[in-house]
Amino acid sequence: MRIAIVDERASRASIIEDGLSSLPDCELFVLTQRDGLIARIAEIAPDIVFMDLGNPSRDVLEEYFVVSRALAHPIAMFVDESDDDSIAASIDAGVSTYVVDGLSAKRIQPLLQMTMQRFEAFARLETELAEAQGKLAERDTIDKAKRILMKTKGVSEPAAYAELRQKAMSSSRRIADIADAVVTAHELMGDSS
């Protein structure tokens, strides 16, 4: 089975490719370039196309599929109405699926499941990464706030941290938010050193 993975994000495409390559009877083609996309698809003549929902070439690809109905290898939006739940799940996972006419749902399902899993896993990784980056940024802000307090009040580092912590507890806010307020106030006072 010839499968095209169309995703401008090469890292995600390779994670999907990796997942699908563990399944039997799959010949995989990864397309990450916008230029010449339709010509490549025509050349590959895939049985299934997976494309991320955020891909700006979706309308162009769907137009090609409409035209392709006149060709020997017609492809349509996945799938017939009886598989509406599968489409909904696929859309929820962030992937649109197009299949060649006549391909049985039984053959599509395992591929679709794997692709959806990988899409979701990628989305999870991204969220975690964003959170981790957020935490790093927060730690940065707390360090800055500590330095400000140390400098302006002449206290030690543990004492500066204890003050931030005390304020956070007494006002039911997060330390990072208090630190952010300290840094902002300090900047507004015109001394950003």
Partner: protein, 402 residues
Amino acid sequence: MTQRLTIGFLPLVDACLPILAHEHGFAEEEGLELTFVRDVSWATVLDRLLYGHSDAAHLLAPLAIATTLGRGRPAQRLAAPFVLGLNGNAVTVSNTLAEALGCEGALGDPQALGERLKAVAAERQAQGRALRFGVVHRYSSHNYMLRYWLAGCGIRPDEDVEIVTIAPPFSADALKAGEIDGSCVGEPWNSIAVENGAGQIVLATAQIWRRGVEKVLALRAERLDEIRPAIEGLIRAMRRTGKHFVDPANWDTNAAILSRPEYCDAPHTLVRRAISDRLVLTHGGEEREYPDFMFQYHEAANFPWVSQAEWLYSQLVRWDGLGYDSDAAHAAARVFRPDVYRSALAATNDPLPTASSKVEGSVSEALQASTQHGTILLENNTFFDGRSFDPDRLEDYIAAQI
């Protein structure tokens, strides 16, 4: 209690009414909290609508009809209780083609421009490199307006030129790279092409059909039934927004909001051009006013006339190579829901036409349309070729199309 509505949109200036209804608090006053999902393809806007990621969407009117008729995917009934605006699109051509057409930084007369284009198209066809135009979607008013104009000038859209689908954000680059010779897209993408030196604006779609229906607010028909009070509130909020939107005093504020990254993500000056009906047609040129370039409010512009849906159906069958089918025609007509628009605004002073259909293209002089509070004037609703569309004679109109 506040009701949340999620609205899908593409970053285009004509997504303005729901966005500004939110930003100016008109939606909130109707008890609505709007959240927006921005996408980069119509396919994804539609998927989110069909599979419940959004409650309503900024959608191409012909796509709402095509989806209902099951063109390209299994049929799903959509409803459009509100027209988000009329026109607002333009034809932009490469600098080379503009020169060949003798455009001198002015919007051409559609008929005269079409005649010159016909000659150039024949020349290019003879050289084996037919002129190629980009449109945003097969089922778009851009496609139908462009084709109506070409065909009306004796240029057969599928034989004498080539029409391809291209995502609006890439049309300027495609023009510059010579992949296409012209495009019909919405703003700000024509202005961006001009600004990048990729091409020149030569025609506004308002010159092809002065009151051409453009985007609609679309929902699944079942979803509309479920949340109808909220949608009626949204309609009221968007009418108030429209009044605010067309007031020159608010152009700057509104352009600033719409140009933000989470909305159109485009330069303020370019967004303002569309809003103010003042386009710059050539790189480095002066702003020129073309009244009614975008038409978002007056003359009950948001009223979903059933005759507009029927005209779009006539173009769908024309270019999809289908014949008239009374069931399909009826289903297409039912997509536009003047009944919902009327009940939403019944208790307001907003003029509500008492008829649901009108002869399109017949108004070369102002026409009085009756409303619940007397009459409103409908001005200048003409097609460039002087033809008119009588919805009572839909089948004849379709039969007479080439």
